[in-house]
Amino acid sequence: MFLQVWAGLIDFWNYTNDTRYIPTVQEALMAQTGPDNNYMPPAYFYTLGNDDQTFWALACLTAIECGFPVPEGNSSSVYLDLAVAVWNTQVYRWDTTSCNGGLKWQVFESRSGYNYKNSISNGGFFQMSARLARYTGNQTYLDWAEKSWNWMRDVDLISSDYLVFDGTNDLINCSEVDHTVWSYNPAMLLYGTALLYNYTNGSESEMWQDRTTGLVSACADRFFTPFDNATNIMYETACEPKNNCNNDQYSFKAYLARWMSKASIVAPYISDAVSMLLKPSAEAAAGACSGGADGVTCGQKWYIGGYDGSYGIGQELSALETVQSLLLLDGEVRVNRRYPLTERQVRVRVEGRPTTTLSIPPKGAATSAGGGDGTSSAGNAQTTEADSNSRSGDGSGGGYGSGASSVKSMSIYLLAVLPLIAGFAVSTVLR
């Protein structure tokens, strides 16, 4: 988890031009590279998950996408080299002895959790692959991005309604899934699908667009508006209302804000919808950051209108990343590098003003708390759009979404068919 802090601080520099933490971030990124320069420090073998290792690589990828300075004495490609080295260790770990593939959560066999194939590890590998694909133009990374997405779909870690569940047990061949829904899991996938929508063309791009749309819509439905009077305020559904978030879970909102906003840059058609969610969330977060002796310490819950007394680095990071995401989303704000870089020879579409906008209807009366207009019922699994607004339980047992299970059955609509092939106001950029 601590690794995600550094990526957030790289973004802080990128969005504000404030250089004061650069040396600290550089030192941190270099300190944990391990003897093989692949973020496998022996001191942490006892706790090394594929996800932990990936988070370092993702910080390096953020560094190269925005041109974060390389520390003196290092090769100019050090961040890319590190990310590639991490990816190389993980592709080697793709495990076909169970579940037809997937990555195990833990790296080492002696570790508890070695038989768990989870979404954060596989989704992290997916996002790494997507970012490397776009940055380098190398087909191998694109192939693996597709492969890891398809595997997650095949074992139902990603549902047909774009819910992303926690993980699955390879001792039973992944025949059952832990249906806990954490915000960072779809968020991790969303930046990857948005990048691939941008990087690919034609029907391939449309496929990634459908997935981007599905993920944004599912996130909007699942992780915002806990109550009717807390419209569009972000919350960690699986633990905040029950007051049982652990230390890492306090930070998940940070990643949701981070990846939703970054996805909006490369898939601008979602940016209005994302702004509509992140602005109220940032406001609410600011209101929650009102505790402590300094009067600005952040609590955990943002939807209660004040400080809830639960403080820590995860809470603070969640507030930081949600607030600073507004700088990225606002096209008028000068940031260092808004559009993620690619290597010189890679061509990507650069979309200026999007020609279409994803519209997500506000969550209305369709709540299981019964404050509604009576037209929807949490228990009725046959309705379509209303049902996808229900928030009964944690999504296990099929209480969520319609059985028809396509993106179009969810409460979203596109204002126009996206003309990806012709008539699109873009320019291609050869870098």
Binding site: A31, K279, A282, V296, L317, A319, L326
Partner: protein, 79 residues
């Protein structure tokens, strides 16, 4: 709601807590709040002292990296 609480407290002669006072429509306000929050995040990071062991640099002290407990409990819930 926040303003109401603030005014009430002030009227009662109680000390009024600071808060971020974020205006999401003002770039300056957002940047200012972000700076305050970044400082707050970094306040939790102490492993950059001259006395920090090299293996600890870049990491956060417990309990931040001890997430195996919660994750294992999820794992143990599976059959």
């Amino acid at each position: 709601m926040k303003l109401g609480v603030t005014l009430t407290a002030a009227a009662a002669g109680l000390p009024v807590a600071r808060s971020l006072q974020l205006n999401v429509n003002s770039t300056d306000s957002i940047q200012h709040s972000a700076s305050t929050l970044a400082y707050g995040v970094m306040d939790y990071y102490t492993n950059n002292q001259s006395t920090t062991p090299p293996t600890d640099v870049g990491t956060l002290p417990p309990p931040s990296y001890w997430w195996e407990a919660a994750a294992v409990s999820i794992y143990n819930d599976l059959p």
